[in-house]
Assembly symmetry: C2
Homo-oligomer: 537 residues x 2
């Protein structure tokens, strides 16, 4: 990308946007601005009219997408090419939605067959659990399920679980045991009843340290309550992993595939099993349908109409050209309260890289920080800085129809959902336009860019589209920037160093007279404190 | 600050830290580095040995604190001076902890008396609710309480509520209704039983739009369930506000004071009432004691030993001199899962300003983005970017003793809490040192700064120290940078613009033939969509 004519041209455009004529408060006055700077699908609308760009920049971004072959890369990804080059793997999360690219050519023709078999198994299993055909050791039907997994093994599922509750009441309540912190285990067990709880262990390799440590607690817990793993444990793991070994019997095991990475796995068994238990497989299927609809759009729509591709290009313009260092994701919907943590992982783990696909150092950082909280809450939290501190682009999300539709009253003449929207629209205006004032403390410089995504509702289909939008946006941004959005070698060093410390702790657990032996003096200091349970100063 | 000799001198130091000799992997080898670059109180330890600084910088920062009279400002604040200059108010959150500076001279000698009266009332009221002396309309004892408030009216309370659960089991379960989103109301009401639920309305002015809109829903809900406000509503509000009006009878009303801002209000009735209901007043009192201990330290300790002051100086060095644009707060403790959202508000709303105390534009941004999730979760989410993407300083928090101490087993020879610590220590090492590798994708540049705060435990006292640490750190940073950390004019423009939109909605609710009349064409487009419940493209 960096050597392309279109990227160089974008860099030349940038200074113009620091001049008064290109202040957002001027640009938004252009007639037809919204129509020209927006794109939509039925039920899904993307408004980028309050981004700091004009037609020329858009044309230039379009050329960038063409020069970097963004859509071809997406198409190759959906067809099963090994686009995860460093790990020599495909990235076929789109195939999990039953979305089969005309050109899908996975190396093994059994892949689709295997994926469909997993889906059928989820359908049957979740039905049997939900109607009480399958019970726990004590014969009681299940009421709760704990997802034991970390990172991509739970963040996306948690987001969708919370969001679906706006329109659906879970029959099986889900809980998430992610952290190796024993207090996380304590929190979760205080909320469940052992005899009616299912434990879903999610780990592709079945070696993830945190998840295996929590599994050890779970097994001890089951034993203490005289419950059998073959009645209460479910595994979601790679075929042939220790979690798929008949020598360790479990109630059911569902396969993960090496061509779907953790942060892209919500639509696989990782999301499928827990979400189908909670809401029924048919709801999960509708969610997949929504994902598939956005996948199809991402694959087929020309650049200027392609919502995730345009969002990716705008993100590149904001971060790599205009120089913003963070982006906020602000859904004006409580149901989407876990969207930002999911997108945070998806985006920062995919794009937070130092090198391109060929191992060459990037001339400027490709990824940025993503953070966010729901609005209007965010307005009463960090939006002071968004308006008067260092600027960052915001992606707002609005939902036209809330989930809750029962008895409601008005305040100041409007319903709560209308008040929410009044604030949402007002924020996009305030950030863009700013306001002059005699008092400097009450002056707003404005010219702060934002986008607005609008969903018709919080149905399973809409949520599927939203999930797939962020996945497609992320991979497009990786493809255009020339980096691999599917690997994550940056998490490895910490694991290696943690092993050296674990070894010291294990030695001391085994032999209380063991003297800590580690080259890092800080580490020895903290090892001593941890075993003494206090710091000697 | 910017004109001071010490700040100019700091700017001259900065380039040195980009040279190989000053890479963190070199600096941490200095003998005695940890002892020289750390500071502690009983039960609270602050290690800044992995920050990118040396003795010269530290001495320089010390001079900066002296030149900007940071400690004198803190002392003036605690004494009741009107340090909130733009609003001509004191900032006396420290007085809420019963911590009375020797020089406290609030204008009205009744202030302390009034505060103590509120505290006594909380003590009595919470006892009566918890032991069932006071019941709801139907005569059943209360089991749940919903805090209805937004921003500073709930974020800090929510953080402490979640954190205290590591060591204490709530007798009254708390819920938080913050967002004006009707789905937030739907979520909360799905979790409570009307007859046993208390509603705590928190708004100083009792005019906060979101809170009043939610109060309207609550009143309708109570009426529908034939419950009386005088049995089920509690208000925390300013004396004489509409929430303190005997014409609108409530079960109890507790006063807020104009000299304690929302984001600094956890230790006032805002946190006191709900937390005392949940855990008992004696637990809240211990929390206050912890706050007071840190206040005392912030006031008395010389610069180099003063933990919050050193943390503030390091933050200024990182953001305003080295140029980092964001900071992460990563507690290795599930119990502290809501610390980052609280600190995010506290810090970004306090320091996200464009002008200094005198209304002069700041030459460089004073505040930064703060974000975070608990570790090890964050390692499996955005830490890929922390290690290989654009760098940001991290504040790690470790707790030597977890809350949960029941049956535990080992995995890989260590207990979960030890595994957590192995990871925590490893992350500080990995970020600082990095690692060379033949493969660029596996190379870690290192030199990424972090601090480590260590708490002995999760007791109420420790949590009080932690809360007060962040408050003191924030105000110190404001005092040194020369900005007012107590106002928030940046949230006003959005409110004004929202009112113009609300007016249009109310007119349409009143008269379905009302044609929207608003100068912003985007706004009209969205108003139409909201009332049609879909976007016509």
């Amino acid at each position: 990308m960096y050597a392309s004519d279109s990227f160089r041209s974008l860099l030349k455009h940038a200074p113009r946007f620091d001049t008064p004529d290109y202040h957002l408060k001027q640009m938004i006055k252009t007639p037809g601005r919204l129509a020209d700077f927006s794109s939509g699908l039925p039920g899904f609308f993307f408004d980028f009219s309050r981004q700091r760009l004009d037609r020329e920049v858009i044309q230039n971004l379009k050329t960038l997408a063409q020069e970097t072959k963004a859509r071809e890369m997406f198409s190759r990804m959906a067809a099963g090419d090994r686009v995860n080059t460093t790990e020599n793997r495909s990235a076929l999360h789109t195939a999990a939605r039953g979305f089969i690219s005309p050109g899908l050519r996975p190396e093994d023709p059994r892949i689709l067959y295997d994926m469909q078999a997993v889906a059928r198994k989820i359908s049957t299993f979740s039905k049997d659990i939900r109607n009480g055909t399958i019970t726990g050791t004590s014969g009681q039907p299940f009421t709760d399920a704990v997802v034991v997994g970390i990172g991509g093994s739970y963040l996306g599922c948690e987001f969708v679980y919370k969001a679906l509750q706006a329109c659906h009441c879970p029959k099986i309540n889900l809980h998430f045991l992610s952290n190796v912190d024993i207090d996380n285990f304590g929190q979760v067990t205080s909320r469940i009843s052992p005899g009616t709880c299912l434990w879903i262990i999610v780990s592709k390799s079945y070696t993830t340290t945190e998840t295996m440590a929590n599994l050890a607690q779970v097994n001890a817990y089951l034993k203490r309550h005289k419950l059998l793993p073959q009645d209460h444990l479910v595994t979601i793991t790679a075929k042939g992993s220790p979690g798929d070994d008949p020598a360790n019997p479990v109630l059911a095991s569902f396969h993960m595939f090496d061509f779907i990475g953790g942060r892209y796995s919500v639509s696989s068994a990782v999301g499928g099993v827990p979400l189908s238990l909670a809401f029924g497989y048919e709801v999960f299927e509708r969610f997949l349908k929504g994902c598939g609809r956005m996948d199809r759009h991402a694959l087929d729509a020309p650049v200027l109409e392609n919502i995730p591709l345009m969002a990716a290009l705008i993100s590149i313009w904001n971060i790599q050209v205009l120089g913003y260092t963070a982006q906020a994701v602000i859904p004006y919907s409580s149901a989407l309260s876990k969207l930002a943590p999911h997108v945070q992982q998806l985006y920062m783990e995919s794009l937070g890289k130092g090198v391109d696909r060929n191992g060459k150092s990037l001339p400027c950082p490709a990824g940025s920080i993503i953070f966010g909280e729901p609005g209007t809450n965010a307005q009463h939290s960090f939006f002071q800085l968004a308006h008067q501190g260092p600027a960052f682009p915001v992606e707002f999300i609005g939902v036209l129809n809330p989930g809750y539709t029962k008895n409601q009253v008005t305040a100041k003449g409007v319903f709560n959902h209308q008040e929410l929207w009044a604030n949402l629209i007002a924020q996009t205006m305030a950030l863009a336009e700013g306001q002059d004032h005699d008092l400097p403390a009450r002056t707003f410089t404005g010219n702060r860019p934002s986008s607005l995504l609008v969903l018709d509702n919080l149905s399973a289909e809409s949520l599927g589209m939203l999930l797939s939008f962020y996945e497609a946006r992320t991979v497009f941004e990786g493809f255009i920037s020339g980096i691999n959005p599917f690997d994550q070698f940056g998490v490895e060093l910490g694991k290696v160093l943690a092993a050296t410390l674990r070894k010291q702790m294990a030695a001391r657990n085994h032999d209380p007279s063991h003297e800590f032996d580690h080259p890092d003096t800080n580490a020895v200091f903290y090892l001593k404190a941890l075993f003494k349970k206090r710091i000697d100063q």
